[in-house]
C-alpha cells in the first residue's frame, strides 16, 4: 500500500483532515493541467478546487486496482475541463485574460508575443488534441496513463499529440521575423 492509499484509507475511516496531504501532494499537477487548458485565472482556481472536492466526495468509489490516484484525479480534472470548455465562449474569455495578465519582467517581454500566439494556437486546438498535448508535454504524464485518463488507445494518444505539436509549430513558422539577427539578440537577452 503506497502513501496515497494509506491516506485514502484514513480519510475513508473518518479522518477528513488527512485529505489535506493528498491535496498538497497533487495540487501542482492538477492546477498545472487545468491552467494549461483554461486561461481565465479565476476559472482555473475554481475548477481545480472542484476537482479536489469531487474526488473527496467520490473517494469511496476509487479503485486502486484500476489506476493510480494521480491518474484518477487527472481523469476528473480532464472531464471537468472538457465540460467547462464546452460551456464557455472562448472569445469573450481569452481577450479579457490577455488584457489582465500578470506583467512580465523585461527579460521575457520579448517572448510575450510568441507565447501569446502559442497560447492562442493552443486554445484553437480541438479539445481532444489540447488535453492530450497538455498532459504529455506540460504535465509530462506517461502516454499509457494519458490513454487511461482519456479512455482511448495509446496510438490515438500519440497521433493527437503529434497533430497538436504540428499545429503549434506552424504558429512559430508564421512568427519568424525577416531579420534572423534581431531574433538572435532578443533570445540572448531573454537568457541573460
Amino acid at each position: 500500500m503506497n502513501d496515497d492509499e494509506q491516506i485514502i484509507a484514513r480519510v475513508l475511516s473518518g479522518d477528513a483532515d488527512a485529505y489535506r496531504c493528498l491535496v498538497e501532494k497533487h495540487e501542482r499537477s492538477v492546477f498545472g493541467f487545468v491552467k494549461g487548458l483554461v486561461r481565465n485565472e479565476s476559472d482555473v482556481e475554481d475548477l481545480a478546487q472542484e476537482v479536489f472536492v469531487a474526488a473527496f466526495t467520490h473517494l469511496a468509489s476509487f479503485d486502486v486496482r484500476r489506476a493510480k490516484f494521480s491518474t484518477w484525479l487527472l481523469t476528473i480534472a480532464h472531464n471537468r475541463c472538457c465540460n467547462h470548455l464546452k460551456r464557455r465562449s472562448l472569445a469573450t474569455t481569452e481577450m479579457g485574460d490577455m488584457a489582465s495578465g500578470v506583467p512580465q519582467p523585461d527579460t521575457v517581454a520579448s517572448n510575450r508575443e510568441t507565447w501569446s500566439r502559442l497560447d492562442d494556437a493552443l486554445d484553437r486546438l480541438p479539445i481532444e488534441q489540447r488535453t492530450a498535448f497538455v498532459l504529455a508535454e506540460v504535465q509530462e504524464v506517461p502516454l499509457a496513463e494519458i490513454a487511461v485518463i482519456e479512455g482511448i488507445p495509446l496510438g490515438t494518444v500519440k497521433s493527437r499529440i503529434s497533430r497538436a505539436k504540428e499545429r503549434l509549430r506552424e504558429t512559430l513558422k508564421d512568427l519568424e521575423p525577416a531579420d534572423p539577427a534581431q531574433t538572435g539578440s532578443q533570445l540572448s537577452r531573454s537568457h541573460s
Binding site: V23, E45, Q49, V53, V108, W115, L168
Partner: protein
C-alpha cells in the same frame, strides 16, 4: 534561429505554473462543508458491502445449530418415546392374522 527554443521556453513557463499558497486551505474549507452536509465519505452501499462478509460466519453457525437441534430432537424422540407395536385407541388391539388367512387371491 532555433525554432524550437521559443516553443521550449513557452512549455517551460507552462510547466512552472503553481497554485496559490492558500489553495490547499481553500480546498479543505470546501471539503469541510461537504463533510458536514453529506456526513461520512463512505457510501451506504459500501457499508452494506462491508457488513455482509462479517455476517457469513454467524449464518453458517446458526444453520449448523439448527441442524444439530433437529437431529438432537429426533434422537431424543426415538430414545424416550418408542413407536408402539399396537394401537391403543379404545383399547382395541390388532390381532395378528395368520399368514394362511391373508390369502387374497380370487378363488
Amino acid at each position: 534561429m532555433n525554432q524550437n527554443e521559443p516553443f521550449e521556453m513557452w512549455l517551460a513557463a507552462k510547466r512552472a505554473a503553481s497554485p496559490p499558497e492558500a489553495f490547499a486551505q481553500q480546498v479543505m474549507s470546501a471539503v469541510e462543508q461537504v463533510s458536514k452536509s453529506r456526513g461520512s465519505v463512505v457510501k451506504p452501499v459500501e457499508r452494506r458491502r462491508a457488513f455482509l462478509p462479517r455476517c457469513v460466519p454467524y449464518v453458517i453457525a446458526s444453520a449448523a445449530a439448527v441442524v444439530c437441534a433437529v437431529r438432537a430432537y429426533s434422537l431424543i424422540h426415538v430414545l424416550i418415546e418408542p413407536t408402539p407395536e399396537y394401537s391403543v385407541v379404545a383399547g382395541e388391539t390388532i390381532e395378528e392374522v395368520p399368514n394362511d388367512d391373508r390369502d387374497v387371491s380370487r378363488s
